[in-house]
């Protein structure tokens, strides 16, 4: 199965409305199962451990398959890969961050963060930008 065939099949399976369920032979650490059961009963994390597990697995698979698609796209179109600054601005805009309206300030902050922390995440940039903004306020 080539890369896109696997991606397309995973997407097809994730989109399926087939209600059939299966018992799996997946082996989980007993402590993890117990922690999940407690989180469901005491923290109302989900209606059941089955729902909790299925939702978490679905979210992770969706993220993985989307990232795989983008990674292949970036190989073909390297210039389309968003920079750390692009990601910080995008995250600020989608999250309604107070600095979303100051993209140039966020870009400058991203450059400063990237100099010291090449593996920084967009959230690191937003935190740094917010700290800078409050220091100068």
């Amino acid at each position: 199965m080539d890369g896109y065939a696997a991606i397309d099949r995973i997407n097809e399976l994730l989109d399926s409305t087939d209600p059939e369920t299966v018992n799996t032979s997946m082996r989980l650490p007993g402590t993890l199962r117990d922690a999940a059961a407690l989180a469901v009963s005491e923290l109302d994390l989900a209606p059941s451990t089955t729902v909790l597990t299925a939702n978490a697995l679905r979210a992770m698979l969706e993220a993985a398959v989307m990232q795989a698609v983008l990674d292949r796209h970036y190989e073909e179109y390297p210039e389309s890969r968003p920079t750390l600054a692009d990601l910080a601005v995008a995250a600020a805009e989608l999250d309604g961050h107070p600095l979303a309206g100051q993209p140039e300030f966020l870009r400058q902050s991203a450059a400063e963060v990237a100099r010291r922390h090449p593996g920084a995440a967009p959230e690191d940039v937003l935190l740094w930008a917010e700290a800078r903004a409050s220091a100068t306020a």
Binding site: A59, E62, A63, M66, P82, D86, L87, A121
Partner: protein
């Protein structure tokens, strides 16, 4: 609370076309969605059917293979959406695609879901929202 991110015509075009001047920016939003999904936030990206028509997005056409794989859901123009969209269109005079976006916003609002629209025309999105809570991101 679930979170739906809606795309307008230009957002779809920007995402799909590597030569579009806002392509990298649109991919930035996709990357943020991925990071939220990875931490199990209930976020989904969707496009109203009428927007797809306006954008020329034919899911069977090879040219759309890239965006087809990005798990962007269709919001069908079913009876409920058509009624709401028709009413919005009558009141505001917006296009069919924008009226369907308005119906999708109204539907999300009724479900108490958080809704964000990525759009090239924030003003029109405020009009079709008709006072309902919506976050607008200008592409």
């Amino acid at each position: 609370m679930s979170w739906t991110i809606l795309l307008d015509n230009e957002a779809v075009q920007a995402l799909a076309d590597p030569s579009h001047r806002k392509h990298r920016r649109a991919l930035g939003y996709a990357q943020v969605v991925i990071s939220r999904k990875a931490r199990a936030d209930p976020v989904n990206v969707a496009v109203p059917a009428a927007v797809r028509v306006e954008a020329g997005w034919d899911r069977t056409a090879p040219a759309w293979a890239f965006v087809n794989r990005l798990r962007i859901a269709d919001i069908p123009l079913d009876r409920t959406h058509a009624n709401t969209a028709a009413a919005i269109s009558s009141r505001t005079g917006v296009s069919v695609a924008d009226a369907h976006l308005g119906a999708a916003i109204a539907n999300a609002d009724a479900d108490a879901a958080r809704v964000t629209v990525v759009t090239s025309d924030p003003r029109d999105m405020r009009i079709v929202a008709e006072g309902k809570h919506v976050e607008v991101v200008a592409l």
